[in-house]
């Protein structure tokens, strides 16, 4: 098995719901707590397994906002595991999930240096490295309904931009999505071979602009007056 996520950049609205839901589930999960520093102070910070950034792709008027959620990619060539001197970081043979044994980690930060995706964050209160567990304490829990045996971020996403499944199974939902939508990996040139895939925005019909009429004299004057007169 090769478990991972598919993230649909076409529909992600950048609401940070996945990150909040992840934080809520995992702060009481196996690698919890996800400590907050100065939560009510001027500069609240803390440990998160998901980070959502927003980018502008292309130049106006052919530009587009892309919301970009990132978590651990559960790489096949996980250098973060190789560089760990203590053996705290490991990749499970049975499903490829990369985890950190909180009892062995000495907090040297070396794995976070080896990770190109910023998936690992040191918890300064426990002094150990923390990262996305792919909700390992959910996905195998048979007391949960089958639908709930998915990572918290996937269930929460209101836009259904996140999908969870087995990439080794060519007929799984995630494999089909990658095949049909051209799912791609981030920074493939580094050779980490990440498991998570991103679906690019669908190609949409460009909005025609030729029929937009030229400005009338009166609207030009209005525009000039608006600029010239101080409010």
């Amino acid at each position: 098995m090769k478990l991972g996520l598919v993230i649909d950049l076409d529909v992600c609205v950048g609401c940070h719901g996945c990150a909040v839901s992840c934080k809520q589930w995992n702060t009481s999960g196996t690698t919890g707590p996800l400590t907050d520093y100065r939560p009510y102070g001027e500069d609240p910070s803390g440990v998160w397994f998901n980070r959502i950034r927003s980018y502008e792709v292309g130049d106006y008027p052919h530009n587009k906002t892309i919301n970009f959620p990132m978590s651990c990619m559960h790489c096949e060539q996980a250098d973060c595991v190789d560089v760990c001197p203590t053996g705290a970081s490991y990749k499970r043979a049975e499903d490829g999930v990369v985890l950190v044994d909180q009892d062995k980690c000495m907090g040297c930060n070396y794995c976070s240096w080896a990770c190109p995706y910023g998936a690992r964050e040191l918890d300064r209160s426990s002094g150990t490295m923390k990262k996305c567990t792919l909700c390992i304490d959910r996905i195998y829990d048979e007391r949960l309904d089958e639908y709930d045996r998915q990572p918290s971020c996937v269930i929460t996403c209101p836009a259904h931009a996140r999908h969870f499944g087995d990439f080794d199974d060519p007929e799984s939902k995630v494999s089909k999505l990658v095949r049909e939508r051209g799912g791609y990996a981030l920074m493939p040139e580094l050779g980490y071979n990440p498991t998570n895939r991103y679906l690019p925005p669908r190609i949409t019909r460009p909005i025609p602009t030729e029929d937009v009429s030229k400005k009338s004299l009166i609207s030009s004057v209005k525009e000039w007056v608006n600029k010239a007169v101080a409010r």
Binding site: A19, E42, D43, P44, S45, V47, W48, R51, I52, R53, S54, Y55, E56, V57, G58, D59, T65, I66, F68, D79, V81, D82, V83, C84, P85, T86, G87, A88, D103, K104, C105, M106, G107, C108, N109, Y110, S112, W113, A114, C115, P116, Y117, G118, E121, L122, R124, S126, G127, T128, Y184, A185, L186, M187, P188, E189, L190, G191, Y192, Y198, P200
Partner: protein, 314 residues
């Protein structure tokens, strides 16, 4: 990368300590240095003290040092674990060599077995220095480090600073310094050339860009929002920024204080000025220069995570 003082001190101090030890062993084996008890004691203690202080300092940057004893377990894959193992193996062999040297001096003989132990200890010291370099050199995420020049520079700078230290030890004990000072001149020159090659090489931008990082390779990509209002672990660790003027000033310091001044001072010593004061100044200057070099090594390293925070390239 955030330049952590503990790691800078560790790499400079233990590098010089290993360099000093290797040159002492080499000087004994090849017989180009006149040993007496003073040189053995001062040199041996100085090298072991620098190495130990460095190693202890390196544990200061650990967030959870109670698990530091586990750091030797992943010897098969991790250069950090290898460094730890080599560093620990070095101690008994090095102490045995220094003891043998001391006993030989008392008996006034040259012992092939002691020389063999010296070779073994030197190889372990070289392995430790090489591992320190490879800790940084093996990271594909930082193009400024991911080069064979990284371990090369760690080895050469360790040997060069160790050489300057050894000249000081010899001069302080009133021994002739001509051969060792000449050797140090050669080592400093090679190290300076290697560092210059590195600074020239590192100017060429290679590796991932914001386009390959996001997968949008056919259009301009700009950061709109990082999604957080305050600093995070990632910005603390990887977003270190130093003004270009400071970087340039420090690069000049590396070459003037780290290489040029020690070269001039040791040059005077080779030409006949026998003063431990000169050697002391050379040592002081080289440590300032190499300290600046190590600070730059971290400050100028740009991790690929910066691409996700808006950098167009690293």
């Amino acid at each position: 990368m955030h330049p952590a003082f503990s790691v800078i001190f560790f790499t400079v101090a233990s590098g010089a300590g290993y360099g000093l030890f290797i040159l002492m062993a080499l000087g004994y084996i090849l017989g180009f240095v006149e040993f007496d008890k003073g040189v053995t004691l001062v040199g041996g203690l100085l090298s072991l003290a620098l190495i130990s202080a460095g190693l202890l300092s390196s544990t200061l940057h650990l967030a959870n040092p109670k698990n530091a004893w586990r750091a030797f377990f992943r010897f098969r894959t991790s250069w950090l674990a290898r460094e730890g193992v080599f560093a620990v193996l070095f101690y008994p062999v090095a102490l045995l060599f220094l003891l043998g040297l001391w006993v030989n001096l008392e008996a006034g003989v040259y012992n092939g077995f002691v020389a063999f132990i010296g070779v073994a200890a030197s190889l372990l010291a070289l392995a430790t220095l090489f591992s320190t370099g490879m800790i940084y050199g093996c990271l594909k995420t930082i193009r400024q480090w991911n080069t064979a020049l990284t371990p090369t520079n760690y080895l050469l700078l360790g040997l060069a600073t160790g050489g300057v230290l050894f000249v000081l030890v010899l001069a302080w004990n009133g021994k002739p310094t001509l051969v060792m000072a000449s050797l140090s001149l050669a080592l400093l020159t090679i190290a300076a050339i290697s560092k210059a090659i590195y600074y020239f090489w590192v100017r060429t931008v290679i590796g991932p860009t914001i386009n390959t990082a996001t997968g949008f390779t056919r259009a301009q990509v700009r950061l709109l929002d990082t999604g957080h209002t305050a600093g995070t672990f990632l910005t603390d660790e990887f977003a270190y920024f130093a003004p270009a003027k400071l970087l340039l000033a420090l690069r000049i310091t590396v070459f003037v204080a780290g290489f040029f001044i020690p070269l001039m001072l040791l040059g005077f010593m080779v030409l006949g000025a026998q003063a431990s004061g000169l050697a002391f100044l050379a040592m002081l200057s080289s440590f300032i220069g190499i300290g600046a070099e190590r600070w730059l090594f971290f400050a100028e390293a740009r991790h690929v995570i910066r691409l996700y925070h808006g950098a167009q390239h690293t």
